[in-house]
């Protein structure tokens, strides 16, 4: 823990007292979390409807923070939105139950971007989350949308935090707060009880200070094998076994590994010192005997655009259900006051960014734009997935093994031998192009400028691949560590976590 955190933690108590004096502002009750960093959502604990699930034999007790778009019975779920109010869920998310069985105690719900839409945890009814690594007095972004979860873990107030990763929402806050953020393969962890944002991309992710606790929970306790019949996107047992058979169970010595540097991740906007951290990490792996090679994923350049067509389109459909009638908050003047039924309640309940994305999604799904935007983005998504499959040594276990024609690749692809170009075990890249920006700078950016932040995390999400962000300190005395991202082939999560652990230990020395 850095000195800055210790200093700022000492301030928490005074702030708590300050906000206690004025528990409400006008009509609106003060729902702000009573902490400097605003990472926990203040809520009253409810009596759970069902008894706690029995723990597995060798469960180790730990503290779990849960992002506020994952339902728990003890705490209300709000998704940082005014439209849900203090929604008390009648059931608990599968992932929370599974972790309770493994020794989890839920310490609270964490602040986030409304419905997961954002990259800085500022689009929230509870106000923005602040980064504990920043110097006292500086309000710096904690990353988003799982910013509250990352801060809870960084401050040591939780051992593990649950987040959701749609386009980088777990990895980005991990990079900004110097923690570990892991997005598993799509379909591995159950999403039952997770409020959907973009179904084809949403995954449950985990944040922690070290890699081992994540590895213990997902693999040593067998969580990765558990299919959830309540979640149609959860891979069934037979598929899980097929996938596990296709992936080697253990990581070989580093000297037998090939690490790919995807050159398209080397963008102009990349901070030179983050690039230096990237080089340093690759060099450290190379020094241990790993082979470091450049790889090209040409479709990645359009990944960000494809993501910002697909995610809002799916969101506009998912968020259509919020009308305040069956749950949540409705306007005082009746349901048909506005132009359209429920429009007043939705207008008052949703935040500005959510409304922008709903509108964009509605447009790209409209009959005149459907083919040119939505379907085209899905086609680009297929190309992105193929690009990844082409560079990985392992075949994607979700498909029959594919042949890649040399004629489909760009002319300057370097050939390893007559078999074709070199294939890699893992990809190494930065997680975010810059260090966390100041909140005052974030407010000034347009929504499209804001989207640029996700350029390095979105590709793995579109392809459904596992990815993890680990902190790497590039420069002595730099305030923030750089987030370095490792990406693996589908279902190669176990080896990915092992390698991430090795990288963390290698960098510490």
């Amino acid at each position: 823990m850095t000195a800055a955190i210790v200093r700022r933690r000492a301030l928490i108590r005074t702030t708590w007292r300050d906000s206690y004096i004025q528990p409400s502002i006008g009509q609106v009750p003060l729902r702000r979390s009573l902490s400097t960093f605003n990472h926990f959502v203040a809520s009253t604990k409810a009596e759970p409807n069902s008894p706690l699930p029995p723990q597995i034999p060798n469960a180790k007790p730990f503290r779990l923070a849960v992002k506020d778009n994952i339902v728990t019975e003890e705490f209300p779920t709000q998704c940082a939105s005014a439209i849900l109010g203090q929604h008390a869920s009648p059931f608990e998310a599968t992932i929370v139950r599974q972790l309770r069985q493994r020794g989890a105690t839920v310490v609270g719900k964490t602040n986030m971007d409304e419905f997961g839409m954002g990259s800085h945890s500022v689009n929230s009814v509870h106000g923005p989350v602040r980064n504990p690594l920043a110097a006292t007095g500086d309000d710096v972004s904690a990353g988003g949308s799982s910013g509250g979860s990352a801060v809870a873990v960084a401050l040591g107030e939780a051992d593990i935090a649950l987040g959701t990763d749609t386009g980088g929402s777990v990895r980005l806050p991990a990079a900004y707060t110097g923690t570990i953020g892991y997005k598993p393969s799509y379909g591995m962890l159950s999403r039952f009880g997770v409020v959907p944002y973009a179904n084809s991309l949403d995954t449950v992710g985990l944040l922690a200070r070290d890699v081992e606790p994540i590895q213990d929970l997902i693999f040593d306790t067998g969580l990765y094998q558990e299919h959830d019949p309540h979640d149609p996107t959860s891979l069934n047992v037979a598929a899980r076994q097929r996938c596990s058979k296709a992936c080697p169970p253990t990581l070989p010595d580093l000297s037998q590994l090939t690490i790919g540097i995807p050159v398209e991740y080397n963008i102009d906007e990349l901070d030179p010192s983050i690039r230096a951290a990237w080089v340093a990490t690759a060099s450290a792996l190379e020094a241990q005997g790993a082979r470091v090679v450049p790889v090209s994923l040409p479709s990645i350049k359009e990944a960000l655009c494809a993501y910002y067509i697909l995610a809002p389109a799916e969101a506009s459909s998912n968020l259509a259900k919020y009308d305040g009638v069956r749950y949540g908050v409705r306007g005082p003047g009746g349901d048909a006051v506005g132009e359209t039924l429920y429009s007043e309640a939705r207008g008052a309940g949703f935040g500005a960014e959510v409304k922008r994305r709903i509108l964009l999604g509605t447009y790209s799904l409209s009959s005149e734009a459907m083919d040119n935007y939505f379907i085209q983005a899905q086609k680009v998504r297929r190309l992105i997935q193929r690009d990844f499959d082409r560079v990985f040594k392992l075949d994607n276990p979700l498909y029959e093994p594919r042949q890649f024609d040399l004629s489909e690749m760009s002319a300057d692809t370097a050939l390893e031998d007559k078999q074709g170009p070199l294939q890699v075990d893992f990809l190494l890249s930065p997680t975010a192009p810059t260090y966390p920006p100041k909140l005052s700078d974030v407010q000034k950016r347009s929504s499209v400028d804001m989207y640029m932040n996700d350029v390095l995390t979105v590709p793995a999400s579109l392809a459904g691949l596992p990815a993890i962000s680990v902190p790497v300190k590039a420069e002595k005395g730099h305030q923030f560590p750089a987030g370095i991202q490792l990406i693996a082939q589908y279902w190669d999560d176990r080896r990915l976590l092992t390698l991430a652990d090795k990288v963390v230990k290698l960098i510490e020395v």
Partner: protein, 196 residues
Amino acid sequence: MSLCSRCLRKSLHLRLRPHPRIISAPLSYKASPSSTAQDILSKPTWSVSSLLPSQSHAEHAESPETITPAQLHHLLRLSALPLPKSSAEEQSMIETLQSQLQFARAVQRVDTTGVEPLRAIRDETEAAIKENTIGLDDLKDTLAKEALVGHYQRPRRVKEQIQSEDENWDALGTASRKAGKYFVVESGKKAEAGEP
């Protein structure tokens, strides 16, 4: 001849170009000075700002995405969102949507002929397709439960009450307004409501 000399100069230039400037960034731990990664990353490959409207606008000025106020109102109605309260708000909504669309348009420059859209990440192996195919064997039990009805002895499904835990939740529990076992939706419009 002129072409050749240009090539030569270009290749010389490439060879003579000094190693990347990022090396000068001080590293807290030793990286071998001539590492592979440094060579690979010496030069950025592209700029994200090339996706931004301000730049692409100049290039593809011929067909910028235009949204008319009528179109915006139609989209807002489809989204069940309130219409803009002022013309300034309307203008800013249109501008935001247009800038988003100009940015998103980059997907259209990709040649996707013959590419099957990726709609979801799911198991598409032959084994999985076989597992998910419903055959006569899967229906055997259901077919056995049919009863023969009427003069022509046509098979009919016998309705069965399925007891599931999922049915036993209080659907009205979270509703703010209800009447008996019904949700309440007020459909009456206010007199002054309408076009702003």
